[in-house]
């Protein structure tokens, strides 16, 4: 007889078995609620990613081979593309932080109702198509674009400045598109910082600048890291904006995957690029999680 169904004196307990069975039943029911999500994850993540891995080891002749990976070592363009991809993603993330942090701070110290209104302005670009926004930047930034026309008419500069068809234009466009992804988590983590924290810092002798750097900033890091990760990871797979605003000079992994598919119809080679990008991303996420205690950032422990 199980020890949980008898008490210390050895008497059988009333309804103990039945209550335990009821508990188990309840747990199973809760578990079954997770089944649709689990199936969805298998269907939309595990299977396709597994297929991607498999394809990356299939050579052009249809047999298993490492040729797709060998090619990546053989030609320098692949390594460069990865460097460019991570560079652009990192720079975009930094730019977003540079613009987004003061913006989120501004929103966080505002009365909630006013902040809601300004937040709308931040989110507004979400409701416009990505392509339209990207081409809008092209119209603004190109050689005979609105900004150059204005600058030269106002006598600010004499020759058109090269603002687009290069890294600068790509970063401007991408930062604009990515900004809300940084601002939203950052804003919510800033809102959670109690007013008393800053009062306490000041009261203990910290000047406003000291109070910001020693108290406010460390408390907002979790939101900043969460937002930065979202921006960074989204940037890694970006295609449209670098293609339109990069002028063919900013070759990112997505661009190269397209080139391979369009010209060689080679799924294996394209998959191998995808696999390497995925693995590199996971390695970076792992490193960042070690550095910043990512679980705090992602699950908002305070």
């Amino acid at each position: 007889m199980s020890s949980t169904t008898i008490n210390k004196a050895g008497n059988e307990l009333m309804n103990a078995k039945e209550l335990r069975a009821d508990g188990v039943r309840e747990q199973r029911l809760l578990l079954s609620l997770a089944t649709p999500a689990l199936l969805a994850v298998i269907a939309i993540i595990v299977i396709p990613v597994g297929w991607l891995f498999y394809l990356s080891f299939v050579g052009n002749d249809g047999h298993l081979s490492l040729e797709n990976y060998q090619k990546m070592i053989e030609y320098k363009s692949y390594a460069r593309t990865f460097v460019t991809t991570f560079q652009v993603s990192l720079l975009t993330t930094l730019l977003c932080i540079l613009i987004g942090y003061p913006l989120a701070y501004f929103l966080a110290i505002m009365p909630a109702r006013l902040a809601g209104f300004f937040m709308l302005a931040v989110l507004l670009p979400f409701w416009t198509s990505l392509l339209v926004r990207t081409y809008a930047w092209l119209v603004l930034l190109q050689k005979n674009g609105i900004l150059n026309d204005f600058g030269m008419a106002a006598g600010l500069w004499d020759e058109p400045i090269k603002l687009v068809h290069n890294l600068t234009g790509t970063l401007i466009g991408m930062a604009h598109i990515m900004l809300p992804f940084l601002v939203l988590p950052l804003y919510s983590s800033m809102r959670k910082i109690e007013r008393d924290m800053m009062h306490a810092a000041a009261n203990l002798g910290a000047s406003p600048i000291q109070a910001f750097w020693k108290v406010y900033f460390p408390l907002s890091i979790s939101g900043m890291v969460a937002g930065s990760l979202i921006v960074f990871v989204l940037c890694l797979g970006f295609y449209v904006t670098p293609a339109v605003l990069g002028g063919g000079r900013v070759v990112m992994v997505a661009t190269q995957i397209t080139a391979i598919l369009e010209n060689q119809f080679n799924w294996g080679a394209a998959s191998a690029l995808g696999v390497v990008l995925l693995v590199a991303t996971l390695v970076i996420l792992f490193a960042v999680s070690k550095l910043f205690k990512l679980d705090n950032a992602l699950f908002g422990k305070h």
């Binding site: 008393d196 924290m197 009062h199 306490a200 000041a202 203990l204 002798g205 910290a206 000047s207 020693k214």
Partner: protein
Amino acid sequence: MDSNPDSGPSQLPTALPIKIQGLTKKYGSMYALDSVDLDIKSGEFLTLLGPSGSGKTTLLMAIAGFNRPDAGSIRFGDEEMILKAPHQRGVGMVFQSYALFPHMTVAENIAFPLKLRGVAAAESAERVDTALATVQLSGLGDRDIDQLSGGQRQRVALARAFVFRPRILLMDEPLSALDKKLREQMQIELKHLHEQLGVTTVYVTHDQREALTMSDRIAVINEGKLTQVDTPHVIYNRPANAFVADFIGESTMLPLTANESGGLQFDDHLIAHDHAGDAGSEWSLVIRPERLFVIGDEVIDPEKTVVFPGVIREFVFQGDTAFALASIGEQHNLSFRFGTDSSSSQDTLHPGDSISLGLHRSDVIIIPRDRKP
């Protein structure tokens, strides 16, 4: 940081008096502080007591520098503080939320003000240890804040507030988040700590028992005005007005009328022989429930005791005390409270019993009648 109370030698005074004059703060058309004058003596434990929205927290925040009054003066000793930024005022403060920094350990939290003042690492560590010992948290310096219980957090917040030896300590309802038992224990500890540090302390609470327990003096505040500032004893036994009488302790108020000879009467009971009041002014009699006693067979001297005959309406046993309501005359009720003991027959009073209640004349409290109910 021009006023650095910590850098000086130890002969600096350990406490400073606070002089507040004409302090006014309006929110819209409402006065949160209405020309407040208050002198807080050096080393004194003064409690700001009042209901929520009375202005007590606004006053404390003004002293700390967290809000900008519309007018007035706040002086620490001889120094005018009204225009100084919070970090220049050098006051310690314990917040209601504790406001401990979650990204720092206990020791780092306490060392924070020392670091800002450039205290050397070795001395800082020593002072942190001393402070931890003072609040009975020795050895917990390496803990994270989220590993602490509510009471422990409260102690850390306290240690952080006094570790840099401020000459003024402010506390904003620091015990309100603790359960009753811990709160009462902490009240005593805070009182001892204050005696030990000797620092001028301004304490905000809405809990009148807490105020009575801890304070040297209580400043009762209502609607932005100080209504009475005095020792707990006086505040309780000689409330200056209906608000104080009503807000602090339990009380019953009976209307008094003046008679021809200048005495004050309730019904036909003469309460005061010759009350020095203007003819025609109105007064109330304040009776604390525990000052009433049930008269049995003993002989009563009417010169020393007022006697109210009445009928028991309600009776409630509350453990250490019992509480009863008796009607006297046509319209008035008197509540009274008395200690219980296991053999007493008094805890078996029944509604409908006739009773005589006595009040020593020394316990009679007379205040001007409040026109507003």
